[in-house]
Subunit: 128 residues, 2 copies
Amino acid sequence: MSELPRISDAEWRVMEVVWKKAPQTANEIVAALAAMNWSPKTIKTLINRLVGKGALQYDKDGRTYLYSPAVEQGSMEQGLVGGLLRGAFKGSAHRLVLRALETGETSREELDAIKALIARFETDGSGE
Amino acid sequence: MSELPRISDAEWRVMEVVWKKAPQTANEIVAALAAMNWSPKTIKTLINRLVGKGALQYDKDGRTYLYSPAVEQGSMEQGLVGGLLRGAFKGSAHRLVLRALETGETSREELDAIKALIARFETDGSGE
DNA sequence: CTCCATATATTACGGTTGTAATTGATAGTG
DNA sequence: CACTATCAATTACAACCGTAATATATGGAG
């Protein structure tokens, strides 16, 4: 049961790019992150760290590398939220949801989707 | 609009103690954290860092200090969840909730409480 | 007034993170 | 075949974090 790597915020941005489309070269990743205004060097560093942590893997294509995720986005999201839930919220999911809703950025559609989730988890204790 | 300080996990544990009861002396905080098996020195360091970050404040009582929170727990929780929501979930509250529920640790009571929250946020767009 | 127990303050040290620059390897260009 | 543009690898460095140890100040016991 391989442990999920612990990755930082900046590293997460890089993972998002590769989760969205894989494999990608370092330069493609850099291009996808243009909006971050990071030096390409910085992004290369982040990529290397992610490889070191086992979050990214690569195949050599001649001189360049093709990077792909080595961990699933959903698992990482679960790890993140689970940590918060256990750590800061002591398992109180409704308090976590309260804080999320308090940001005031949640649309009616999101609220409906959450209602649907609750219904699903109410009938059977887990996912459908 | 004072910015919320950014505090680490270990520091959060200390804040929890002071949020639960304030003011408290350093020694009372240490006692409350006995279960963490941290050296008292370590806890003093965390307290000092929290003061430096503006998360704790103190009043001198002779030679000892009485520490109190300088930021509210709710605000800090909101900052935490809001950051996650904007950062990793791109505003998709229902996906955040999904990941929370997937941990499989959520009781029926929690689910009911969440339903109540949804209802509240559906009628008026914010807290009552 | 002196000494000690104890409270706070300062310093330590290796690992992580943000943010890069420098170095080393190599595929093409001429 | 020598040179350069470009990859990836190594190194840098300050701030933050976990985890303390050491130093300094001071109220109270004699």
